[in-house]
Amino acid sequence: MNRKIRVLIGKPGLDGHDRGAKYIARALRDAGMEVVYTGIRQTPEAIADAAIQEDVDFVGISLLSGAHNHLFPEVARLLKEKDASDIILFGGGVIPEEDIPGLKDAGYAAIFTPGTPAAEVVGFINLQMEKRQ
């Protein structure tokens, strides 16, 4: 068996600021994971469909535009609807503290805000994988 942790990094909505998404994608790559990057301006449907086709273990969503309270839960809902709620969700971006509990309720295992060291995200993924096994 030659199993790799597979992660999809997606950017939904109209926000084109992808430095954070690319930074995390590279960090996860350097931690030995296979990272599928969708590019910017994806619909929640496109992200959910891609996650299923790519059979990833995690989906990480990055958003800096403020539309997270709409777009993040939508990705979670679509994954559930498509019988893929086993895929672990995490989010990142400019997200006010008070919004985090709501996003966690919507199905996000973690929300990372600006300034989070990449190692923290890597640690989160490894821990989740251990819990799963």
Binding site: M1, E34, V36, A50, I52
Partner: protein, 319 residues
């Protein structure tokens, strides 16, 4: 974990999740992957298109165009996009989907990104198996885009029914196109970025180098396109259609069966060798240490393993 039989049944019913999971199983070499492939092998239909060429040649952009083309005739299109894995960490950044975004939520387009996972030749070791899964699930064509390393991708020609080599101006002189192997693998040589300077020179280099091809090999067609503007694409589609029409179903099946066996033999060879290393030297690591300590050469180990295997076959009473 879902059982093998369930996965196969769900693939037959067109379940995207089942197809995706079967792809992971064959890619990971999970214990039931041979059982899954054994059933799916005979269900393959349609044809496979290989796309290869150096990084930045526009392969993904061309694949995006191709998906559009085959969607207009209502084919379900499968794409396997292979990107390099780091030889140091094993990680990979799989970014080919970015150029295929226009098909991101089309339910009849299945795009799968794969890391090469240390396999040489521009293809992931499991690409052949993944292609089998998508083809058996009803996707035709299955388009395979290889890692763009440029000079060692002869494997794709073995795997795909039709192979396109994508070249662009500005990547080197005529000596590059004289290097053996790479020019011979394309059934069609696509000269992309035809709007760029140097395209005439590239075409003359390529055509000149094809002049020297052995007379018994079929010369590839050379077609100029711009995958971004769409220029020349109609010519390219026509050339692909002619090649598809020229290959009969039996030819394709026979070819793919023989090539698949070749691949399996190579992989089995590695598995058997690992077992022999275990018996003879307590595993690969210990054997490597013997080499590093200067006690044995790699050749001595190889010879010993073969002798051991022969001894085992004799012992079992076979010829």
């Amino acid at each position: 974990m879902t059982s093998t039989a369930d996965i196969i049944r769900d693939i037959g019913e067109g379940s995207i999740r089942a197809i995706a999971r079967a792809l992971s199983r064959v890619e990971n070499g999970s214990p039931d992957s041979a059982d899954i492939l054994d059933v799916l092998f005979g269900k393959q239909q349609g044809f496979t298109l290989g796309i290869t060429g150096p990084p930045g040649a526009g392969k993904s952009t061309l694949v995006n165009r191709m998906i559009t083309r085959y969607r207009t005739t209502d084919n379900s299109v499968g794409v396997i996009a292979v990107d390099p894995s780091s030889p140091f960490t094993g990680g990979a950044l799989l970014g080919d989907r970015i150029r295929m975004q226009s098909h991101a939520s089309d339910p009849k387009v299945f795009i799968r990104s794969m890391g090469s996972r240390g396999h040489l030749g521009g293809l992931s070791g499991a690409t052949r198996d993944a292609s089998c899964v998508l083809s058996a699930a009803g996707y035709s064509p299955v388009i395979i885009e290889t890692v763009g390393v440029g000079q060692a991708e002869v494997e794709i020609a073995d795997l795909a029914h039709i192979t396109l080599l994508v070249l662009v101006p500005g990547l080197g002189d005529d000596v590059q196109s004289m290097k053996a192997g790479i020019m011979e693998i394309g059934d069609i040589i696509v000269l992309n970025k035809a709007d760029r300077n140097g395209i005439d020179q590239l075409e003359s280099y390529v055509k000149a180098s094809l002049e020297f091809m052995p007379a018994d090999l079929k010369k590839p067609e050379v077609i100029r396109i711009s995958a971004v503007s769409g220029e020349g694409l109609e010519d390219l589609w026509g050339a692909i259609d002619r090649l598809v029409a020229a290959q009969t179903g039996e030819e394709k099946t026979a070819r793919s069966a023989v090539k698949t066996l070749n691949g399996i033999l190579t992989e089995n060879g590695i598995i058997i060798s690992e077992k022999l290393l275990e018996i003879e030297y307590n595993g690969r690591k210990a054997a490597e240490e013997l080499i590093l300590a200067g006690q044995l050469s790699p050749y001595a180990i190889g010879k010993k393993l073969l002798e051991r295997a022969e001894g085992m076959f004799k012992h079992n009473g076979s010829k």
